[in-house]
Amino acid sequence: MEPRSQHPGDELSDPVSLPPEAWQRYARQIGPGVLSREAQRRLSRATVLITRAGGMGGPTALALAAAGVGRIVLAHGGLLQLPDLNRQILGSEAGLGQPRAAQFAARLRSLNSAVDVVAIDHEPDEAEAHRLAQQADLIISAAPNFAERFRLNFAAVTTGKPLIDAAQWGMQGSLCVLAPGKTACLRCLYPEPPEFEEHFPVLGAISMAIGALAALEAIKILAQVGEPSWGKMWIVDAYRGHTSIVELVRSPDCRACGKSLPAEPTPESDR
């Protein structure tokens, strides 16, 4: 049975309704302090771009599909390798050697067939990132290198879409919740491209923790509930059992969101 609305007038404010089985599916997340029916409808109308959908982006996508986000566009190139399986939980042993994006999408559809899942089998370049960002309501950046992160950040800045940037190393992770033009952007934090290594140590448990936190922030933003952590970075030091929340400061000289907009695309030298 469809739960009674927690918010009088919900039905009147949105002519688009969800089928009865949807209300049954989401019954445990509709209630005080969680989602209203209107919030659930907002989720069902939302599009989220996730790149990539590996250690962190995969659990994010899983949580968003379970929660009933309308459309998930996931971009992830390459073939699934055995060392991926310590954290890339959308994959499986049966999918080893197969393209990641298609099997990750199939896993999401098997969890919730009501979600429209779009698989992109490569990492978007600048033009495609911009186009995908335009079509999305929110962007999750969970890429292994800064060139890709800066590209997504720039797409978020130029389209004005919220960006959640998730990062990890070892047993630690960080999460930034950014509103371009209002809060700091990723380039405000890192004016110079940091060093990174393509193959780094990481435990799947931290990937999943950060990915789940990214999904929570996305749900709050898209459903318009709770208090999103706008302009903040969470640092989760699970190695030592310590967390910090940092108020990020916007840089007026930022090459992506600073005064001299329109900013230039990430130069090749930053990659």
């Binding site: 590996g54 890429a143 940091p194 190695y239």
Partner: protein, 85 residues
């Protein structure tokens, strides 16, 4: 004054042997604390792009950050940038 220091992010394990608390004189500046920290790290300096965070305030990177006077109970976090995947 005792300042708690957290080194987080990429290669956090390299700072494992550092003391968790660094003692500085009353009225010391953030830069004096950072210098003391770098001295203790010896020949494995922190990267210039590391974020400097003082008691939850983002002050910039190691190479370009706002100055600050330290207060008792301050906590310094250095975040060496992480990516993901």
């Amino acid at each position: 004054m005792e300042i708690r220091v957290n080194i987080c992010g990429r290669h956090y394990h390299r700072a494992e042997k550092l003391p968790r608390v660094i003692t500085v004189a009353e009225g010391s500046s953030l830069d004096q604390l950072l210098q003391k920290l770098q001295d203790q790290l010896g020949d494995s300096p922190l990267p210039k792009t590391a974020l400097v965070i003082l008691s939850g305030r983002h002050l910039g990177t190691l190479v370009a950050h706002r100055s600050a006077e330290l207060r008792p109970d301050d906590e310094l976090t250095i975040l060496i940038p992480m990516a993901g995947g």
